[in-house]
Amino acid sequence: MTRKYAFFPGCVLNAAAREAREATEAVAAHIGLELVEIPGWSCCGASQIQDIEHDTALAANARNLALAEKMGLDVLTACSTCALMLRTARQELAAGRKDEVNKALATADLEYKGTADVTHILWLLADTVAQWGPLVKKPLKDVKVASFYGCHTVRPPTVMTHESHLNPQSMETIITACGATPVHIPERLKCCGFHAVFPAEQTALRLTANAADDAKKGGADCLLTPCPLCQMQLDMYQPDAQAAVGKGGDTPVLHLTQLVGLALGIGREKLGLTRHIISPESLLAKC
């Protein structure tokens, strides 16, 4: 399997969720996926800029897509919010905003044509299980994994079209391919609270505690998410959530590609597993 993508890491994969970038790149290299970082990519707006200067965010994402088009490649992201922002921009540009936005892009000698699709590493891995599944060297047969999809991975379904938003199975497909056992928890399609952690902090902490507690009650060894923002919220804020709500506090939260990397037998040092707030040691002992 050799496929090449224009890689859009997004801001957090360069900073607080660097381990997600390490794991994504390690897994990609292992399964023959070539990721070429888009030179000069910018923040996608993270649904924040969209709320105060919609057209600024639209133009920035048109630029991101135009840069990928110059590479002649489709875009791959490992962040659900980046994927949603880029795909939403694509839809809006296709629905009649292309010409006016291109006037702005022309000031930087760029043109958006609409040729580059935007996909998520989750979708790619789920669709190519048949190709990378045989590469699994260390099936995680003793590991129980609760998937936490993240809102922007599946909603709104008019933009995130890959699978059913009500009953998605991509995470479970990948967990099973890794030899682990999926644990279905009621919180799997709920919000982690990340995007309102400051203005609605108490709500965000309760949602975080609920997910962590739900996974524990379901007998899962960890929560698994394809969105680094969900991972950051559920991991970094879990101690605060535990302090505020009195539940959760010791549920490890893995990035999707970290689990896949473990199953593929990639060295733990390449998967950033030491950069977690909630130690994944209890889980790693079963791998």
Binding site: A16, G40, L58, V101, A104, A108, R155, H195, A196, T203
Partner: protein
């Protein structure tokens, strides 16, 4: 014979229970037609509300397997396929007080709707002779919001409301506020926005459930965003929500990417961040999420500008000037 089972959540005012009903599969049925069939043929005590059967009145929203649908506008086949099961759980929509079985109470919601100050206060130049003229382009800005049929589906799975409805409103309230705020005939669109700021406009989680569940394809989350933009443009930039968004916006223009180290103090203020987030910061440093040196560098000198930052700035300025 293929048999369909509805496990219906029932409530008689004091007692709650789940009751199973089975009926013969018929591809012509909708969810509402199935409920009517059960009431007519099996159990006249089963309560639900419905009227137009044409997706206009908004009275028949229910949950199927925990997700709101407009029962008259949802084919049974659609949900059977979605859930890959011939057994479905039918419940009243969420985030509403239940009166009986699938019947919910709208009285409190109507009172909450009043906070949007619904109703058009027209500009002074309009009068009985000339009316309130509006161009097609101006009407297009609010046309979709006028499709709201007050079915409550957008509120049913709203993650914010489910957690706490005391500091937030039902998404349809924001949609109603925005349709007056954006109306070209409004004398003071900000009137509605200011009320919504008081009622939790910046507390939306971006969970996108409202957008997903609206049977009329309205996007309450976009209405919330539009009113945030309006409030921000009018100078209402104080508060954690606006300051957080502004940090992202200026980072985009300054370096092209988010500066995570500056984000918290810019959102909460330096003093609050230094005192309230000390434990969090130490935890981040201890577990290697960021090195101390890196954190100091980012705080003092910012991210290195991206390749092509001047081009990005030109694009942003062009868009801003065009407005």
């Amino acid at each position: 014979m293929r048999t369909i089972t509805f496990d219906i959540d029932r409530f008689d005012g004091t007692r709650s229970w789940t009751q199973s009903y089975s009926f013969e599969y018929d591809p012509a049925l909708t969810v509402l037609a199935s409920l009517i069939l059960l009431k007519e043929k099996q159990d006249p005590t089963l309560n639900f509300t419905a009227s137009c059967r044409s997706a206009i009145c908004g009275s028949c929203a229910v949950r199927v397997n925990g997700n709101a649908v407009l029962a008259c506008d949802t084919r049974l086949d659609t949900v059977l396929t979605q859930w890959q099961s011939d057994t479905l759980r039918i419940s009243p929509i969420g985030n509403f007080h239940v009166l009986s079985d699938l019947v919910v109470d709208w009285s409190e919601k109507v009172e909450r709707l009043r906070t949007a100050k619904p109703g058009l206060k027209a500009k002074a130049e309009f009068n009985a002779e000339t009316g309130c003229r509006q161009s097609p382009a101006e009407f297009a800005l609010i046309q979709k919001q006028w499709d709201c049929i007050l079915c409550g589906s957008c509120a049913s799975e709203c993650n914010k409301l489910t957690d706490n409805d005391r500091d937030f409103l039902e998404p349809f309230v924001f949609t109603h506020a925005n349709r007056y705020a954006q109306d070209s005939r409004s004398a003071d669109g900000l009137l509605h926005v200011k009320e919504m700021v008081k009622q939790g406009l910046w507390k939306c989680l971006h969970c996108m459930e409202c957008v997903t569940k609206c049977p009329k394809q309205i996007a309450p989350a976009a209405d919330i965003a539009a009113m945030r933009a309006m409030a921000f443009a009018a100078g209402n930039t104080e508060g954690k929500g606006p300051r957080h968004a502004e940090a992202f916006r200026t980072d985009l223009e300054n370096s092209g990417r988010l500066n995570e180290v500056r984000l918290v103090p810019r959102t909460e203020g330096l003093v609050d961040a230094a005192t309230g987030r000390m434990g969090f910061t130490l935890r981040m440093l201890k577990h290697g999420k960021l090195s101390t040196r890196e954190a100091v560098e980012l705080f003092v000198t910012d991210n290195k500008p991206i390749e092509g930052i001047e081009g990005l700035r030109k694009i942003i300025r062009y868009r801003r000037d065009a407005k």
